[in-house]
């Protein structure tokens, strides 16, 4: 809530900050006053970064990852294996998989997961685009790297059924225990799946 006494431009900034995820009214206030105290150049750089992100960042026509050039550098990289497509929920997930350095295929970003109760169906995600991409040929395996949540699993199963008639191999990530987790407090589902995916020591 903008403070009653705050001058209009500051109140407006507080209001805008408080729309951001994870920013409560107190944090919004702190951020706004921080910007106010910051050097002029910093404030301008922030403003420019904000408008640039909307003006120059687009979705790649092939993988729907966020990019400044189309096709994105990943899709454009001749060294990558075009027969493998890793399907993720969010653009951030691409970065996470890339960071492992263990995947040399391409990606497909769905921009969410199925949440039928909240009205998020296949039409709200980039699922038809994935189907068309695979129908276009050259893809041998689709790796579903959606979250191991109810929504993520439903999304994986839905895509699997959709792609089945094309004779494509559809796999999903193995589900194990999160590192740093405590077996004692692990839920049955995670634990029983991790047991199934056990490996030779």
């Amino acid at each position: 809530m903008p403070e009653a006494g705050a001058p209009e431009p500051i109140a407006r900034l507080i209001q805008e900050f408080s729309k951001l995820p994870g920013i409560g009214p107190k944090s919004a206030q702190r951020l706004a006053y921080h910007v106010l105290r910051a050097p002029e150049d910093d404030a301008r750089a922030l403003a420019r970064a904000l408008t640039d992100v909307k003006e120059h960042v687009v979705l790649c026509d092939t993988c729907f990852n966020i990019t400044v050039r189309n096709p994105c550098t990943l899709c454009d990289d001749e060294q990558r294996d075009r027969s493998l497509v890793c399907v993720v929920e969010q653009p951030l997930d691409v970065l996470v998989v890339e960071r492992t350095g263990g995947f040399r295929g391409l990606y497909h970003v769905l921009h969410g997961s199925l949440n039928p109760i909240d009205g998020v169906g296949p039409e709200q995600l980039r699922i038809q685009e994935l189907l068309r991409r695979v129908e276009g040929g050259g893809v041998v395996e689709v790796i579903m790297a959606t979250n191991p949540s109810l929504e993520g699993e439903a999304t994986s199963m839905y895509v699997q059924r959709l792609l089945q008639p094309l004779g494509i191999r559809v796999t999903r990530l193995a589900r194990g225990l999160p590192s740093g987790a405590d077996i004692e407090y692990m839920d049955d589902l995670t634990l029983s799946r991790a047991l199934e995916g056990r490996q030779e020591l």
Binding site: I117, A154, Y158, P178, G180, D182, Y185, D187, D188
Partner: protein, 256 residues
């Protein structure tokens, strides 16, 4: 309403989750004794959270909840049933989500509905055991009955006349079956075949397991689905969101 204790226990099914801030979630639980309620699970989205897997939607859990200033807070959670087989079937997941949405839409917070809770758990157990859409039909019809919306299927709802064994008008607005002579006053509806009427009557006395075991032919099941959908839409004033998903999933070609 009697004051709840500062810390209370509940056993319930997690209906839905919405994220709050960086690491918290607000979960909607449907329990028998507390009814439907919301509480916040702090830090539940962190990998190391102890409660994480126990508070996933479509999990039956025992929880310990502390009253908070605004929202109550989960302090412990333990899975009773994760419905693992159900989650691994796209069709069963879709049916289950639809049932969860019905419960969410038809209930208000903190109204104890132990019979509806038992009905939900039975439906989820039957889906877990590999049963299909018939589970949902029984669940819908019994839910309507428990909440006071049971359609009248013995004779005409308007004049009380016995109904001959022939296709009959089912009118959600009138509250059940309507004879030929009363059709004009029924306020619309759908003509249903004799087997559909019989299934609706059977659902009143049959347990969910008995109803599912009946295995209606596909065209009858399809017609019953549409008829019950009419009733649900009439009482909710809308279609549940998950219905589209259930239909989309069953329309996808299956080859397994």
């Amino acid at each position: 309403m009697a004051a709840r204790p500062r810390v209370y226990r509940a056993e319930g099914v997690i209906l839905r989750r919405r994220n709050l801030g960086e690491a918290d979630s607000i979960l909607t639980v449907f329990s028998g004794h507390e009814g439907k309620f919301e509480a916040i699970a702090r830090g539940v989205r962190k990998a190391r959270s102890r409660m994480r897997g126990h508070l996933e939607p479509l999990t039956r859990s025992r929880v310990l909840v502390a009253q908070g200033r605004n929202l109550d807070v989960f302090t412990q959670a333990e899975t009773v049933d994760a419905y693992r087989r159900l989650r691994e079937s796209l069709d069963a997941s879709a049916e289950a989500l639809y049932c969860l949405e019905l419960v969410d839409r038809f209930t208000v917070e903190r109204e104890p509905l132990p019979d509806l809770y038992a009905l939900l758990v039975t439906a989820l157990d039957l889906l877990e055991a590999g049963n299909g859409a018939a589970v949902t039909r029984h669940f819908e019809l019994r839910l309507l009955a428990l909440l006071g919306y049971e359609p009248h299927v013995d004779g005409c709802v308007l004049c009380g006349e016995r109904l001959p064994e022939e296709e009959t008008l089912l009118s959600p607005a009138a509250g059940g079956l309507v004879c030929r002579r009363c059709r004009a006053e029924a306020g619309g509806g759908r003509i249903v075949a004799v087997p559909v009427v019989k299934l609706m009557r059977f659902a009143r006395r049959a347990t969910a397991a008995e109803f599912v075991a009946l295995a209606a032919p596909p065209e009858v099941a399809q017609e019953l689905r549409a008829a019950v959908a009419d009733l649900v839409r009439y009482h909710l004033d809308r279609d549940p969101n998950a219905r589209r998903f259930v239909e989309g999933v069953s329309a996808l070609e299956r080859k397994d």
